[in-house]
C-alpha cells in the first residue's frame, strides 16, 4: 500500500479579515449532517472499476425477478411504510425504539489532537485545546464545510 505522507487536507490560511466570519446555525447543522453521512458511507472513493464494462460480470437476478419493484425500494421508503403500517396496526415501529437523548451534558474534545477541548472556534464552533491546535484548525477545516 502506498500512502503519501499527506500534508493536512486542505490548507487555506485565512486572511485576518475572514476571521470575523461566523458560520450560522443552519450551515453548522449542514456541516454536522455531512459528517454524519460520511460516518455511515460505504466508501470514500469512487468505484475503481467504474471505467470497465464490468456489469455483466456481476451475477444478476433473472429478468422476471429483477422487475419486482420491492427489490429496489429505498430505505426511507421502507421506514415510512413501516411507520404507516405500525400506526394502522397500533404496534411498536422501527422508529419507536430509537434511543432518547441523554440527560448528560456532552463532552468536548479537541478536533485537532483529540484531547479535551475547552475552547471553541469563533467562526464555526469547532472545539480545540490550545493556540497551536486553533491555528491548525483555522488553516485546515475551519469554514471548509461552510461553502
Amino acid at each position: 500500500m502506498t500512502i503519501s505522507k499527506s500534508t493536512l487536507r486542505g490548507s487555506n490560511r485565512l486572511k485576518e479579515g475572514d476571521k470575523r466570519r461566523v458560520v450560522d446555525e443552519t450551515s453548522r447543522k449542514r456541516r454536522q449532517r455531512k459528517v454524519m453521512e460520511l460516518l455511515e458511507s460505504d466508501n470514500y472513493h469512487d468505484d475503481p472499476h467504474a471505467d470497465l464494462v464490468m456489469s455483466k460480470k456481476i451475477p444478476r437476478f433473472d429478468d422476471s425477478l429483477e422487475q419486482r419493484s420491492t427489490r429496489t425500494k429505498k430505505r426511507n421508503q421502507l421506514v415510512d411504510e413501516d411507520r404507516a403500517e405500525a400506526e394502522a396496526n397500533k404496534r411498536v415501529s422501527y422508529m419507536d425504539i430509537q434511543c432518547e437523548e441523554s440527560p448528560m451534558p456532552p463532552r468536548h474534545f479537541c478536533a485537532v489532537c483529540g484531547f479535551l477541548g475547552h475552547y471553541s472556534c469563533l467562526s464555526c464552533g469547532t472545539r480545540f485545546c490550545c493556540i497551536r491546535c486553533m491555528d491548525t484548525h483555522a488553516d485546515t477545516r475551519c469554514l471548509k464545510w461552510a461553502a
Binding site: 454524519m36 411504510e81 437523548e101 440527560p103 475552547y119
Partner: protein
C-alpha cells in the same frame, strides 16, 4: 482466533479475569435444569445462517463452528478483472483501496443485486450447501415487510428450500445463554447486541422480547471505523480510501477506557510514562499482508520495518470506542450504550427489573474491544440501585454466539412444527408465514401500563441525577471552563458558551422521533427540565401505548384473536403463538 486474542494488553487480561470471575459466580446462580438438560440429542439437522450486515455466520448445525463470511462484494484496484465475493477476498493480493459493495443500509438489506450473489456464494458447494436441510436464517429486529417478502421469495423460490424459519439473532443468543450458563430456559435477560450497523438493547421476559423495553442506538462498528479513518487522515496520513486496513487497525489497537479523563492524562505524557501510545506497522501487501503493532524491543524486526509506513496511535485508541458510550462526542443526539441498558431495564415491569440486571449478555463485534465488559459493568453499577445484583456476561466469541444458539433452538421441543414448509408458503403466501416468524418470542402484553411507569422512571432518574450518581457532571470541568473564559479575553477567542458544541443535529429519519426534535437542536445541550422530559416521555409512551393488540400475542389468550385471524389456526400453530419455552 482473532487479532484481539493475540495481543497482550493489560486491559485485555484484566477484562478476561473479570469474565472468568463472572462465569464462576454465575454458575452458582441457578441450579441446572436437569430434567430438560438430559432430554434428547438433536435429531433435527438444519443449516443455520446468521446473516449480519458485515459478516454472515453460516454452517450446518452438526458442525462445531460456523464459517465467517464477509457480507459484501469487494473490488480491488490491483485486480481489475474480477470481483471478490465473501471470503474470496483472501485470494486478493493487494487489499489497498478496496472498494466495498455492501448489501445492507443501516442494517437492512436494500441492495439485492449484492445480497443475492453473496448468499449464492454462502450456499455454494464448498461453503455451506443447503441440500435438503431446513434453513434457519436471522433477520434484524423490525425487519421491513418488503425485505421479508424478498427473503421468502429467494429462499423458497430460488434456493427451493424445503422448510425455513426466520428469527432475530438475539432470539438465538438468548437460547444459547440459558444453555451455556445452565439457567432456566426463560430466564429474564437483557441482550446488548453491538454490531456493524447499530447497537440494540433487548430485554427478554418469560422468554419473549419485551417490546417497550427495546432501544436502538445508531452507533455500530462501521461508524467507529469511519471515524478512525477520518481522524487519522486529518492527523497523519490520508487513509480515507483504506477502510479495509483501518478496520484492522481498529480491531488491533482500540480498547475501551475505564475512565476517559484519567486515560487522557496518561496519553498526554511523553516517553515511557505514556504506556498507551503504539506504533502500528501498516501492510504494504508485499512483505506484510496484515498490519500489526510494532514491538519496540524487537530490533531485528525494526530494520525490516524501516521501509514501512508506521501509524502512531495514542488517544485514538480509546476515544473512538468512546462514541458507543457517549454518542454526543460526535454531536449525535442519543444516549450511550450503558444509559440505554438502564433505560431499557426501567421500561420493563417493576417486578422484573432486578432480575434483568442479573442477566446482561453482550454480543456483537464491538464487544471484543478490550475493557468493554468492565466499562459497561462499571457504568451500570453506578447507575442502578446499590442493592441490585448486576451481572454482565461476555461470551468467548461474541460474534458467533447467535449462530451457536441454533443448536439449542433445534432441541426445543416440537420445533419441527414451527418450520414453514415450501408447501405452506405456496398455499398461504408471505403475509401469513411472516406473521408466524414475527410473532415468535415477542411480548408486549403489559403495554397498557406503560405511560404511568415511564414518568415514574424519569422521576427516579432525576432523583439519582441530583445525587450526581447518574449525571456524573464533572464540576472540575466547569471550573476549567471558567478559567478558560478569562484567558479568552487575552487570546481573543470566543468564550465557550455554556453548553455550546459542534451543533448536534437530527440525522434524517434516524433522529426524528416525530416530536419535532429537528427544530429543538439549539437547546439540545441544556439539561431538559423535568416537565419537558415528562411530556416527551408521555408522548412517546402514548405512542407505544397505542400498540399492538393485533400484532403480538404471547401471554394473551390465544383464543382472543378474531376468528378469521389465521394465527388462530391450530394447524398452523399447534402450540399457539405463545411461548412454549
Amino acid at each position: 482466533m482473532n487479532s484481539f486474542e493475540q495481543k497482550t494488553y493489560s486491559k485485555l487480561s484484566s477484562d478476561r479475569n473479570d469474565r472468568i470471575r463472572t462465569k464462576r459466580r454465575r454458575s452458582s446462580v441457578g441450579p441446572s435444569d436437569s430434567n430438560k438438560e438430559a432430554k434428547k440429542e438433536c435429531d433435527l439437522m438444519a443449516v443455520i445462517v446468521d446473516s449480519g450486515a458485515y459478516t454472515i455466520k453460516a454452517g450446518l448445525s452438526s458442525q462445531q463452528n460456523s464459517t465467517l463470511i464477509p457480507n459484501c462484494i469487494m473490488k480491488a484496484k490491483s485486480e481489475r478483472k474480477r470481483l471478490f465475493v465473501g471470503n474470496q477476498i483472501d485470494e486478493c493480493r493487494d487489499c489497498s483501496g478496496l472498494y466495498f459493495l455492501l448489501p445492507c443500509e443501516r442494517g437492512y438489506i436494500t441492495k439485492w443485486d449484492v445480497q443475492k450473489p453473496v448468499w449464492d456464494y454462502v450456499f455454494s458447494k464448498n461453503v455451506c450447501p443447503i441440500n435438503d436441510n431446513p434453513v434457519i436464517v436471522t433477520q434484524p429486529l423490525f425487519n421491513f415487510k418488503s425485505i421479508q417478502d424478498c427473503m421468502d421469495e429467494i429462499f423458497f423460490e430460488e434456493y427451493e428450500v424445503n422448510s425455513m424459519f426466520r428469527l432475530n439473532p438475539t432470539d438465538l443468543a438468548r437460547l444459547k445463554y440459558a444453555e451455556e450458563l445452565k439457567l432456566k430456559d426463560d430466564v429474564p435477560c437483557v441482550i446488548v447486541d453491538s454490531g456493524f450497523s447499530f447497537t440494540h438493547v433487548i430485554p427478554y421476559i418469560n422468554g419473549n422480547k419485551y417490546l417497550n423495553g427495546i432501544r436502538r442506538l445508531n452507533v455500530g462498528g462501521k461508524l467507529l471505523t469511519n471515524h478512525l479513518k477520518d481522524i487519522i487522515s486529518y492527523r497523519q496520513y490520508n487513509v480515507m480510501e483504506e477502510t479495509y486496513v483501518i478496520n484492522q487497525v481498529k480491531e488491533d489497537t482500540c480498547y475501551v477506557a475505564e475512565n476517559v479523563k484519567e486515560e487522557l492524562k496518561i496519553a498526554a505524557k511523553t516517553g515511557s510514562a505514556n504506556h498507551i501510545v503504539r506504533n502500528y506497522v501498516l501492510p504494504d501487501f508485499n512483505n506484510i499482508r496484515r498490519g500489526y503493532i510494532q514491538d519496540p524491543n524487537n530490533s531485528d524486526q525494526k530494520e525490516k520495518e524501516e521501509s514501512c509506513q508506521i501509524l502512531r496511535l495514542n488517544n485514538e485508541r480509546f476515544i473512538v470506542p468512546e462514541i458507543l458510550f457517549h454518542p454526543s462526542d460526535i454531536g449525535m443526539k442519543s444516549m450511550g450504550i450503558a444509559e440505554a441498558v438502564v433505560k431499557s431495564i426501567y421500561s420493563c415491569p417493576k417486578q422484573q427489573q432486578e432480575n434483568l440486571a442479573k442477566n446482561i449478555l453482550l454480543i456483537g463485534g464491538n464487544c471484543k474491544f478490550p475493557g468493554f465488559r468492565s466499562r459497561i459493568y462499571a457504568d451500570l453499577r453506578s447507575q442502578l440501585p446499590q442493592a441490585w445484583e448486576v451481572n454482565v456476561y461476555l461470551p468467548n466469541d461474541p460474534i458467533s454466539y447467535c449462530w451457536e444458539g441454533g443448536r439449542p433452538l433445534l432441541r426445543t421441543p416440537d420445533f419441527k412444527n414451527f418450520l414453514v414448509t415450501k408447501d405452506e408458503y405456496e398455499e398461504l403466501g408471505s403475509s401469513i408465514i411472516q406473521q408466524r416468524f414475527n410473532t415468535w418470542m415477542i411480548d408486549n402484553s403489559t403495554a397498557n401500563e406503560e405511560p404511568k411507569r415511564a414518568v415514574e422512571v424519569y422521576k427516579y432518574l432525576d432523583k439519582l441525577n441530583s445525587q450526581t450518581i447518574f449525571g456524573k457532571q464533572d464540576n472540575g470541568n466547569n471550573s476549567l471552563e471558567t478559567k478558560v473564559n478569562k484567558e479568552n479575553i487575552n487570546l481573543s477567542m470566543t468564550p465557550p458558551e455554556n453548553g455550546d458544541s459542534g451543533t448536534p443535529i437530527s440525522l434524517g429519519d434516524e433522529f426524528d422521533l416525530g416530536t419535532g426534535s429537528e427544530d429543538t437542536s439549539q437547546d439540545s445541550f441544556q439539561q431538559p427540565t423535568e416537565p419537558e422530559i415528562i411530556s416527551r416521555t408521555a408522548r412517546k409512551a402514548n405512542l407505544r401505548n397505542n400498540s399492538p393488540e393485533n400484532m403480538v400475542s404471547v401471554n394473551k389468550d390465544f383464543e382472543s384473536f378474531t376468528s378469521d385471524d389465521l394465527t388462530n389456526s391450530a394447524e398452523l400453530f399447534p402450540l399457539g403463538t405463545g411461548s412454549y419455552l
